[in-house]
Symmetry: C2
Subunit: 190 residues, 2 copies
């Protein structure tokens, strides 16, 4: 069951933009992070989210997509995300967040995938502009932005052969992602 | 379903040590990380694991448990982990791992929880000693150690009231973890 969910949870970058996401859904997925482990239980992560078409468009302009697809400018109108969740570090709580960010990002995405949506964690973000758009106070630092929507592309995992980990898109628009085999991941088993 | 799994996935620190974990199980849980997102798809994380009682005992001596429970020295004999997974950064691939570590840790733990086990992510680790015990080459850096076993304690989530995020254990040995309410986590919803 989790295996199926983990498999379905690909980094999707093209969506059916007609399928909206509601603030209620975003709240539900963010709410899952309440149950997540947090280093020293500090819980310094906060969240800013938008399902608003106008705000979404502003955010979209501040993101860079799929570094390896050099001749692709990112999703076109009609295939853009229906929502975004920015993962924030609340520096008034702590400057340290251990691995809380990845725990939260994965949990949010698995929640979305379970409901038939999907997303992509973006690190190439104009953080100062997104902070302005979302009117975030200075103590909230944007770590990552998760784009969310109804996936409208096929993403397939391939066995990595060699060392070229770059994903690529074929003539039919299928997105291929080379992943290391499990026996390469495990360097020691006692 | 995921909500139930996320709720069950507490940081457990006492286990029924009679219940063993097999290398096959560890491989399965680590194998889930193949399906995880990775920044720039670099996949720089590797894993070292042990389900061996003697190695486990050596690792156990290199860990510090539950910082807030100052009068508790960690799990006693009989309630110690049945296995460990060390999450490693392979510096020969990359020095940068974005939020891959938390994504992997959460995915491994959810896999274990789904099969009736549980664990705890430990950051207070004598990394150089654990590296020696696991005979890790120098390019593999220990990020976190996940302890795993059959949980033998009750962990309850409580609504955080005020600012004291320290977990505590009551007279019956129940472990209480104050968590921020969802509306405190969401600072902006558009």
């Amino acid at each position: 069951m989790l295996t199926e969910l983990a498999r379905k949870n690909r980094s999707y970058r093209r969506y059916d933009e007609r399928v909206r996401i509601t603030p209620r859904q975003l709240e539900r997925w963010i709410g899952l992070t309440r149950f997540c482990a947090s280093g020293r239980n500090m819980q310094p992560l906060k969240y800013a989210a938008t399902a608003d078409a106008i705000v979404n468009e502003q955010i979209f302009g501040q993101l860079a997509w799929a570094g390896y697809l050099t001749d692709w400018k990112g999703p076109a109108a009609g295939e853009r995300p229906a929502a975004y969740i920015a993962i924030l570090l609340d520096r008034s709580i702590s400057g340290q967040y251990y691995c809380d960010d990845g725990i939260a990002a994965q949990t949010i995405l698995l929640g979305a995938v379970e409901e038939g949506y999907g997303g992509c964690i973006l690190g190439s973000v104009n953080r100062s502009r997104v902070s302005e758009i979302l009117e975030l106070p200075g103590h909230l630092e944007i770590l990552w932005v998760i784009a969310l929507g109804k996936p409208a592309e096929t993403v397939v995992i391939e066995e990595l052969a060699g060392t070229d980990i770059r994903y690529w898109r074929d003539a039919e628009g299928v997105h291929h992602v080379p992943k290391r085999p499990t026996d390469e991941l495990i360097v020691c088993m006692k």
